[in-house]
Symmetry: D2
Subunit: 289 residues, 4 copies
C-alpha cells in the first residue's frame, strides 16, 4: 500500500487466451516505456489452450502524464496483436466504494473503520439503506447516508433511485448484509462490479433459518463467502472464504454472532483485494493474486 | 489417555430428559460407591424441557470387580427414578474398530499408524476391502485383511459376508474412504455405530466430480466432515469438521490431495473421540465433550 | 447469554485441592437449595494430589433473594469441610470493565462496538488514556473518557489518579493497547484483575520493533496473546491466543495491520470469557471452561 | 505436478539486485528460445535498491536437448549484463532427498507415504539414523536405511560417515526429528541445503522440556516451524509454520502428540515447496512462491 503514497505506481491487469510470448511482450512494452516492474503474478489455467492472467505492479516516473502513451502502446501490442484484454490503473486513484446495508451493522462498520484507519485503499462516497437505523452511525464517519425504503410494490422505483445515486459516483458496490434481492435489471444497469457477503455452511443449508438448521445438524464450523453478484443469487464467482469453529455449546444465536465475525473479516479482505486490483474474474471463478 | 495405563478408570455417559437434580444424583451414586470424579462435562440443550447430557470420568480402586454393583446402583437411581439412559465403561477396555476401505489409503494408514503409536485407544481386529490392493500394506501392521468384492449383482451377498466378519468382533465400524453405498439392511443389522468421512465444500457440490466442480467455482476452502452413518447418505450427525485453504493455483487434482490431508485428520479426531466416549448422539446432532 | 435475560441464573466457580466427593457435595448443595444445574464443567489437574476446578451454571427461581442463604450453605460445605475457594455470581450482573488505551484504536473500538451490539456481557464505566486523541470517538458510545497524561517524571502521580478513577467503579481493567508499563505498586493496589493483549510470534522477538524483526526473519504466522497482567511484563497466565497467516509479500507495516486483526479478536474473546466467569486462574496458567 | 508427467517443463529461478527491465529480459530470452511461460511469480523487496526474485515455469518442446543452449543464453543476458544469479531445472528431474531421523517416526513416515502416493516430487535415496529402531519400517518402503550411531566421543567420525553416505547421492537433506546437533563442519561440507523441523510456541520456551513448560504456562496454541539449517541452531530462514489449538485439558504428553501432527504437515509442505523450487533464500528470510 506504499503504492498509495507515491504518485508513480501503476497496475496492469491482462487476461485472455493463452499463447507463447505474452509475458515477454507485456514486460517489453513496460520496459520500453521506462517502467520498472515491482511485482508480477501470472498464471495460466492450462498451458495449451488455456486462459492467461497477469497482474503487474510497476513504477514509472511521471505516470499520470504518460498514461495515454502507455495505454496506446499496450493497445497496439496487446489488443491488436494478441487479442488480450487489459486494464491500466494508477495506484494512487482510490476506488469509490458505495455500500448498501440494511439493519445489521457489523460488516458496514468494519469497512468504515478500516477505511478511516487507512487499511482499505478506497473512498466511500455513500451508504444507502432500506432502513433509517444506521444513519447517525454512518454520518459520524463523514460519509453521506441515503435512506431508500424498499417495499414489495415500489421495488422498481426504489432501484431506480438507487441507480441514480450511484450513477457516476462509484466504482464498486458492496452489499454489506443488504437483505434485499437485487434484480437482474439493476445488475444490467449498475455498470460496476457488485460484491456480496453471505454465510456459508458445510453442508449448505438452503432457504430460511440457516443458523437454526446448522444448529440442528450440529455443524462444527461456520463460514462466510464473499463473491461477485450475478443473476444467480449467492452463486457468483467466489473471492474469499473463511470459517470459525463452533460447538454444541453455541446456541443458534451464538452461531450467528460468530458468523458475523467471519463475515466482516472475509468481506474486508475481498474489498481490499478488489480495490488493489488483485481479483480477476474468469467466467464463474476468480484468480486472486 | 493416562486412563489407559491404570485399570481403575471408568467413564459414565448419561443422557435423557433434563430435570433438576440429575448431576447431584449421579455424582452422589459415584461418591457413595467410593469413586473420585476426575472430570465431568455436562450440558443441557435447554434449561426447561431440554435434553440432558453428561460425561464423567472417575477413578475407583478395583473397578472391574465393582462394575456389577455400580451398574446396579446406577440403574436403580438413573433408569428407575429419573428415566435416564446411561452407559458405563472401563477406560482400559479399548474399543474394537473394524475398518472398511476401497483403494485410497490415506485415511486407513493414518488410523493404523496412530493406533500403533498409541494415539488411538483402539484395537483393529480387521480391515475389509472391496479391492485387494491394500492387503500387503495392512498386514504389515499385523492386522487381518479380508477382500470382499462387491459387484452390482452380488451386493446383498457381499454385505452378508461383511456382516458375518463383523459379528461379535467389533464395537465400531469406520468407513475410511469406502466407496460403496451401505444399504439400509446392512445398517439395521450391523449392531454398532458406523463412522464415515467425506469431503465438504462451501457451497456444497452434490453428485459426481465435486473437486472438478469446486475448481470451476473457484472455492477457497476445501473441507472434510466425519459423521455417523444413517440411512440418509452423508446426512448423519456430524462429529467433526475442518478445512484447508486452496487457491486458483491448485488444479482439481491438487484440491483432492489437500482434501485428503484434511480427511485423515478429521477422521482420526472423530475416531479418537468416539473411542474415548466423548461423542453423544442426540437425534441428528452430537454433543462432543 | 440468554442467561442475561433471566434474573434467575447463577454461576458458581469452585477451586482448590482435589479430593473425592467435591462434585457430589457441590451439586448436592445446589439441588438442596432448589437450583437446577444447566451446565457444569469440571476438571482436575491430576487425579491424585491435583487441583480441582469447577464452573457450574444453574437456574434458581428468586435467585437474588436467596443469594445469602446459598452463600452460607456453600460456605459451610465448601470452605468449612473441604477447604475450597468458591465464587457465586448472579449472571444478570454485568461486570464493569474499565479500559486503558493509548493511541491505537482497533482493540478499543472492537470492545465498545461489541458491547453496544450485546455481544459482551459488560458495562464500560470509563476509558482512560494517556493521550487525548480517542476522546471524541469514545464519547460517541456514551462512555466517559478521561485523559491522564503519563510522563517520565509524573508516573507515580498519574497512576495515583488512575487508581482514584477506578476505585469502586470497575470489576476488571483491560489494557487495550495501552503503551505504558504498569508498575508493581499499581497492580498491588488496583484490586481487580487486569487483562492485556500483545502480539506474539514464533519465534518470539523480544524488545523493540518486533514486526520489523519478524519481517527480517520471514515468519509465516503473526499471533496475539491475551493474558492476565502480573508483575512480570507479558508473562502472566494466558487466556487466549490466535494467529494469522502472512507471507513475504507483506511489509512490516502490513504485518502490523494483520496483527491488529488478530489482537482485537483475541482480546474480545478473552474479555467475553472473563465476563462470563469462564476463566479460572491457577498459578501461572488458566483453565478456560 | 502435471509438470512431472511431461518431459518438457522447466523452471527458472532468478535472484539478485533489482533494476528496471529484468522481467522483460528474462521473458524475452525464454520466448526467443521458443518457450511458453506457464506461470511466473515475481517480487522485489523494495522498488529502489531492493532485491529481485522470480520463479518462472515454462514449457519448451524438446527441453532436455535444449538445456545447454538455454543455459548459455540466460548466462549471457542474466549473469553477464544484469549480474543476476539464476538456476534452471527440468521439472521431470525429481530431487533426491536424504532423511536423517532418530527414534520418532511421525515426520519420517509422513514423508515416505507422501512420496509413495505421488504427493512429493522426490526420490528418497536413503534414511540415516543414529538408532536402529526404524530400520524395518523404512525398508518396507524399499528405501535403504543406514544406522550410524552417534556418541559423544565419536561425533566427528560419525559425521564423516554420514557425509560419505550423502556425497553425490542427494540434493537435499531433511532432518525429520533428528535429535543430534549438526556441527558447523558438517554444514560446511555437506554441499546441499538442509531442512529442519522443530516445535514452536508463543511465547518461545528455550531449553529442555518445552512441552511441560508450555503446559505450565497454559498456552492455547502449539506450533511447528520448518527452516533451512544454519550454524545458529533453530535460527535459519523459515520456510513454513503452522499451529494447532490446545487447551487446559491436554496433558504435556497430549501437547506433544498434537505438536507431532503439526510438525509432519509443516515439514511435508516445506519439503514439497523446496522440491518444486518454490523457496528462494534471501539472507535470513525466504520468498515462497
Amino acid at each position: 500500500m506504499s503504492e498509495l503514497n507515491d504518485n508513480d505506481y501503476g497496475r496492469l491487469i491482462v487476461q485472455g487466451a493463452d499463447r507463447p510470448g505474452i509475458v515477454a511482450t507485456v514486460s517489453g512494452v513496460l520496459t520500453d516505456q521506462g517502467a520498472n516492474i515491482v511485482s508480477l503474478d501470472q498464471s495460466s489455467s492450462d498451458p495449451s489452450g488455456g486462459r492467461f492472467f497477469q497482474r503487474t505492479v510497476f513504477h514509472l516516473p511521471g505516470l499520470s502524464a504518460r498514461m495515454d502513451a502507455l495505454n496506446a502502446a499496450l493497445e497496439a501490442k496487446l489488443t491488436g496483436e494478441l487479442e488480450l484484454d487489459f486494464r491500466l490503473v494508477e495506484a494512487k486513484k482510490r476506488k469509490r466504494v458505495a455500500i448498501f446495508v440494511s439493519k445489521m451493522d457489523h460488516c458496514l462498520l468494519d469497512l468504515l473503520w478500516r477505511q478511516r484507519r487507512g487499511e482499505l485503499p478506497m473512498i466511500v462516497p455513500m451508504v444507502v439503506s432500506n432502513h433509517a437505523d444506521l444513519g447517525d452511525e454512518v454520518r459520524q464517519f463523514d460519509v453521506p447516508f441515503f435512506h431508500v425504503p424498499v417495499e414489495k410494490d415500489n421495488k422498481a422505483v426504489a432501484e431506480k433511485e438507487q441507480l441514480n445515486l450511484l450513477k457516476g459516483n462509484a466504482d464498486l458496490l458492496v452489499l454489506a448484509r443488504y437483505m434485499q434481492i437485487i434484480s437482474g435489471e439493476f445488475l444490467d444497469e449498475v455498470g460496476m462490479p457488485v460484491i456480496n457477503i453471505h454465510h456459508s455452511f458445510l453442508p449448505a443449508f438452503m432457504g430460511a433459518g440457516p443458523y437454526q438448521r446448522a444448529k440442528e445438524r450440529g455443524v462444527k464450523l461456520i463460514g462466510a463467502t464473499a463473491h461477485y453478484v450475478t443473476e444467480d443469487l449467492d452463486e457468483g464467482p467466489i473471492i474469499e472464504q473463511d470459517v470459525i469453529r463452533v460447538s454444541h455449546r453455541d446456541t443458534a444465536r451464538e452461531l450467528q454472532r460468530k458468523g458475523a465475525d467471519v463475515e466482516r473479516l472475509v468481506l474486508a479482505r475481498a474489498v481490499a483485494w478488489h480495490c488493489e486490483d488483485r481479483v480477476i474474474r474468469d467466467g464463474n471463478t476468480t484468480v486472486v493474486f
